[in-house]
Point group: C2
Amino acid sequence: MNIGEASRASGVSAKMIRHYESIGLVPPADRRDSGYRDYGTADLHRLGFIRHARDLGFSLDRIRVLLGLWSDPARSNAEVKAIARAHVKELEQRARQLNEMANALRSLADACDGDGRPDCPIIASLETGANVPPCHPGASPGAMPPPAPRRKAVAGR
Amino acid sequence: MNIGEASRASGVSAKMIRHYESIGLVPPADRRDSGYRDYGTADLHRLGFIRHARDLGFSLDRIRVLLGLWSDPARSNAEVKAIARAHVKELEQRARQLNEMANALRSLADACDGDGRPDCPIIASLETGANVPPCHPGASPGAMPPPAPRRKAVAGR
DNA sequence: CCTGCACCTTCCCATCATAGGAAGGTCAAC
DNA sequence: GTTGACCTTCCTATGATGGGAAGGTGCAGG
């Protein structure tokens, strides 16, 4: 199976499959005489695992850990559960922050007449910072990937 | 006022102030003979506006539009309101996606004994994709910036 | 006057996951 | 044998931010 077929079968773009190989998330694919990559069902399985983990918002780094646990016959489900729980917390916190922003902005928008005049409480709040959430720091950059829209023209699914 | 003082006063890092200048979000700062940038209260005001807009999750591109409306004496608050409402929708959708992922993962974790054995429904679902949300596409990349943690060592606030 | 330190300048690189495209080779069907 | 769909590698971009190097400036203390 070449990379295009593997892409359609796994739902991971060919571009990403090559990338995952380059960062060692998947082992180097077998090559045909032509140089074309050749995939088997085990490879598809692994790619599917990765995609599902991405669908749950895991970063590639965490997926690396999960893949390790997956292939470890002596793994402890406690370890997996701990990672999952930690990730749930992070997802919830990110959602909370977004909702905070949405709520703040919604109430500003609600307070705006929108009647065509220049007066605007939204602009006024941006000037002064009143009713704008502090958007507390912490959660350093790179701590969590954005929702990962992915899957655009990959089709299949 | 030099860039460090402006940073502390506005809550925007010096690095970002220079960046905003380089992309034209703020006009080129005055320079002293030494080459140092020199900021006045109008500049601080603009930087504060930008920071508040970032706190509400606006992208720099949208902030550019908001700044234009801000300085337009004949602006229509309807226009501002429309931008705000659209942004609220986007924030809500992103929050919804994150919550979907969190809910899915939480129920998987709840189904995991965590008793130290290898059996693990979380791993099993990653393998098969069962109970993993499709994470619907759309909302192309770059459509919205991550929560923008910002403000780490900028102090002030 | 010199030293030291805190600050400034520009420029380049890294993050994270993903996409786009160019230049060139391969395969299969017609 | 040509055409068109596919593959290869390599480079670049995204968005907002941070890190750091190499070198200049400003001010205070000795």
